[in-house]
Symmetry: C2
Subunit: 412 residues, 2 copies
């Protein structure tokens, strides 16, 4: 295997019985894509979704309707399952802490890990304490703080709301201290970060089982468009073996330090001098890991389910020299099936994943993957498929206008 698994320290006593019934909080596409692997492993799942038509709720065998921030709803799910996991980071920490205090539901990751994916200030503080590489950052509680940070940093800063952001939401580039007044009023504290002059964005996925076994996927390169993950290449082209191993070790260290269980995605900036800086953390399957569904021996959704059920992790070896993933973002076609038909006809090796979501402009409605030999050729084919699916088979192949990516956003 090219990516050896790292065993946990030998336990003094046999581990607990694996959890066979998993509760998934949130009914989006990440929950949806956990279902197939859970079915194959013979594990039971129940999805907590806000509506029966949500992406995962529409296809899951067992669904509870309720909100992720409604303690009663989360508690009811927790009572029925052996372990809880998440489609997104937005479950209030207080709810999870109460469950843990009562020994109920076994959230994986637990709230003391998850907080680092929920609150960007907590994450920056902790990673800095631990000595992990971060952009320069400032804790902002006033216009004066922001003015000082701007003076310190130069002409501009990235300002982020500590909580609740996703994709391009909750991220703003400011050039003067008054440009975040509204957010200061609403959020009381903000995170400001230097604008990193990165050469590209990388992402490192690592799975971690309770007890500490980890499995680090090949580091990938990701391209954002308008703050949303758009294209991923695995492995990251031109990344030398030493850098690859160093970055995988960073991801393992963060997973260990924060006691993550399940998938951890570490989004990174690579700089011209070959350093990497941690951009964001996500503690769940991540868009930059979707290539692994079709491109690795164990896809990230199966891996996440195995970790959450406390089953041994699987091999992360790629099944081909190269894999690419391109997101399908809602565009002109309202019905995706005719375009999918054309794309599948044009490319029998194409793998299409649709999320069963209504099409809205820019909304993530699916993704495609390809495995093969040559990254550039695979990307061309994947983008041809993308255009057919999002615009329909009758449309021309001219791409929609792209704008500069802000490149600092969390990607579902």
């Amino acid at each position: 295997m090219s990516e050896p698994l790292h065993p946990a320290p030998a336990p003094a006593v046999p581990g607990p019985v694996p959890g066979r019934h998993l509760g998934i909080i949130g009914g989006g596409q990440l929950a949806r894509m956990m279902l197939g692997p859970a079915i194959e492993l013979g594990l039971e799942t129940t999805v907590l979704a806000t509506s029966p038509t949500e992406s995962a709720a529409a296809v899951a065998g067992q669904v509870q309707i309720g909100r992720h921030d409604d303690e009663a709803a989360v508690r009811q799910l927790a009572r029925e399952v052996d372990a809880l996991t998440f489609d997104h980071e937005h479950v209030p920490a207080e709810i999870l802490q109460a469950l843990v205090a009562e020994g109920l539901g076994t959230p994986r990751p637990g709230p003391s890990a998850l907080i680092h994916a929920q609150d960007k200030l907590v994450m920056r503080r902790r990673l800095t304490e631990l000595g992990h590489p971060c952009p320069r950052w400032w804790h902002i509680t006033s216009r004066e703080d922001l003015a000082n940070a701007l003076a310190d940093a130069g002409s501009s800063l990235v300002v982020k709301t500590p909580r609740g952001g996703y994709d391009a939401h909750g991220v703003r580039i400011v050039k003067s201290a008054g440009e975040a007044d509204d957010w200061l009023a609403a959020h009381r504290e903000l995170l400001a970060e230097e604008l990193v002059p990165f050469t590209r964005e990388l992402s490192a996925q690592v799975a971690r089982r309770p007890g500490g076994q980890t499995a680090a996927y090949p580091v990938v390169q990701s391209v954002q468009r308008e703050g949303v993950c758009y294209e991923v290449v695995a492995p990251a082209p031109g990344l030398d073996q030493a850098s690859q191993q160093r970055i995988q070790q960073l991801a393992r260290d963060i997973a260990d330090d924060l006691d993550v269980v399940g998938m951890l995605a570490v989004e990174l900036f690579e700089t011209a001098d070959g350093r990497v800086l941690v951009n964001e953390l996500a503690m769940r399957p991540h868009n930059t890991g979707h290539w692994s569904m079709d491109g690795a021996v164990t896809g990230q959704f199966e891996q996440h389910v195995r970790a959450v059920a406390d089953l041994p992790l699987g091999a992360v070896d790629p099944v081909a020299p190269a894999a690419v993933m391109v997101n399908l973002l809602g565009s002109t076609a309202e019905d995706l099936v005719p375009g999918m038909e054309a794309a599948l006809a044009a490319d029998p090796e194409l793998k299409v994943h649709l999320y069963g979501k209504a099409v809205r402009p820019g909304r993530k409605i699916g993704h495609v993957t390809l495995i093969g030999q040559d990254t550039d050729e695979l990307l061309q084919r994947a983008h041809r498929a993308e255009q057919l699916i999002i615009h329909g088979p009758g449309a021309g192949t001219d791409e929609t206008t792209t704008t500069a990516a802000t490149s600092t956003e969390e990607s579902l």
Copy 2:
């Protein structure tokens, strides 16, 4: 691609809109394993199962409870879906013919194809008319017929009930004309076949889309145990390229001749002089094709779903030089999870598929697959995993007693 897809003749008019809602008749593991691929393709499914605890019904998003031989139940499902397909062959032809006559439900395969997988006498008659290679066979309606056939064939014959058999059921080896009296009384007509002195069993899977596009998987070698598929190696070791292509063409020809839609499995005897004879046909994903779930670009369950939905077929190329599949047949372990945990820990590359079925001795309760370089090494590892799972991690590794396989049975 090593296995080029064969295009359909160019249609004069654009094809129909693909079916987005598939009805699956039968709630067994084959229906269950269609669910994950259908979810990923964004297709809707409804399973008709006899109980909510059946393998597929326990995990499907939409389930109707009813019997496959209850016309009202099948009709109700047919009204709700764009196309119907099958977990097994046991839906009465009359029900499907009535639906087709009314333009309801679009069974795929249709009844005029499916009858060849339902009735072994019809199959033998038709394949013989078409000139496809079969064992010598006799239509038996009396003890006298059987006596004549025995005199003709030599010392013994395989006698089969034309309908309703599966695995080892409905198959008997007879040495004297009175040994099938009970079946003659119950079934009125029987099929008798020569006992083929085969060197091994092969299986050829081919997918066929409405309109005629086909995709032929690499020919595999299968080993039966007590009449049940036990072990599959893909591709079949030592099969030369010319034989491989000849057998793939035979499977395509049968699919075309019988107007199959979906997966067709052609189980074959290979003889010492290098000929192949058709043993059984199945028109659905087949046990001998399970390796493709983890071992081919497009697994047979995704392929079946695509064909039934009238979507273009996918590439059938293997993702590794060798793949193996070993069935998990119920044994001493009632709870499979501890053994699965041990097997996954011992072999991170192992893929485990459990069917959510109660354990009974000899019952198919799951399967494992492995991909890699060396068939023998993969088989060793797969059998080690099998033993851990079916006997539990505490049991020794001594195998359960095996008896000679009758080798003539249909395998679910």
